[in-house]
Amino acid sequence: MENFGYHAPTKIADAAQLAEANEDAKLMAGGMTLLPTLKQRLAAPSDLIDLAGIADLRGVCRDGDEIVIGAMTTHAEVHESAVLREAIAGLASLAGQIGDPAVRHRGTIGGSIANADPAADYPAGVLGHGATIVTNKRKIAADDFFLGLFETALEPGEIITGVRFPIPVWSTYQKLRHPASGYAVVGVCIVQTKTGVRVAVTGAGPSAFRMAAMEEALTKDFSVKSIEGIAVAADDLNNDIHASAAYRAHVVSVLAKRAVASR
């Protein structure tokens, strides 16, 4: 990879100042996607701003009816969090399904959603739970965050500080794992709240999306039968060497039914 300047700020404000002062700089969380990208020379930032030294960005805690996860909390820490397992077991399980143990020791929730890989697991969890992404500047609803392929609502230099998850009645995440990369060929997150059901899908489209027809049906009647007749359109889904769009559409339906059946 090309060389770069390296910065390790210990305060969010210092990191933001560095990012704003240099538009060719890149923020680094766990580096599980960024470092391979640099190695392939698909990116060559002038500077890396490493967020690992900022203690305020780490940890999982409960705040009333919400679980707050710091942006630099690793997948392993999220997976093992006793507070989270008690409040949102489905989300703790999702974190344990990402990559492999070594990747889970480095990769972070903030890095994953800022990168918005179409096959990443967290986007489905964040969207499904109707979470709020907190940055150093504002709060962004998950519904307004994922805009497209590797595209989010984040502005240049804006730093995710944490994610707030409303505690649901119940949730689960089911995925068809790509056997080599560990990414989701398709992943489906189903969340029951007091007011209704949310269904979010990752891996299938350019970015995570919700399945309105399934949400409506499951809100009326939470059963496998109620979503059996709902067709998933393959039109805008991903079509690649690993899976055709039609296959992905089929798997969305299979995983959704499997998720409901696991209740």
Partner: protein
Amino acid sequence: MLIEVNMTVNGRAVSGKVEARALLVDFIRDHLRLTGTHVGCDTTQCGCCTVHVDGKAVKSCTMLAVQAKGKNVVTIEGLASADGTLHPVQEAFREHHGLQCGFCTPGMVMMGVDICRRHPNADEKTVRHELEGNICRCTGYQGIVEAIMDASAKMAGGRA
């Protein structure tokens, strides 16, 4: 521009000057001459470069040396006791023939130790799931899985 890095490797305080882009595995192999840590795929998939950073298994091909500043790093060379007594996971690999060509073995053993610490008395399903990030092209994994299960039981029983 070179950056000064200090860390503890296998209990020894070490330092060196590296470029920001230098990988941790390159620092370990080229600067410290600890060549037990291997580079297989160089793309975070095969696990041959697995080392422990602050007690956790990570792939040292996907971490910068500067990110390990001030950390406690353990490589395969740091597992056995000073008198040459093998770590229980190393011993189990020998007993169960958990290797053939040996190229993936340092990473397998380092991941094995991490698995044993997190999963006392690990069952076969757990070990196979936890080994998803470590690839072996010789053994078919059977001996490796048996070795880690055995070491996990022995370590949980306090023999280690």
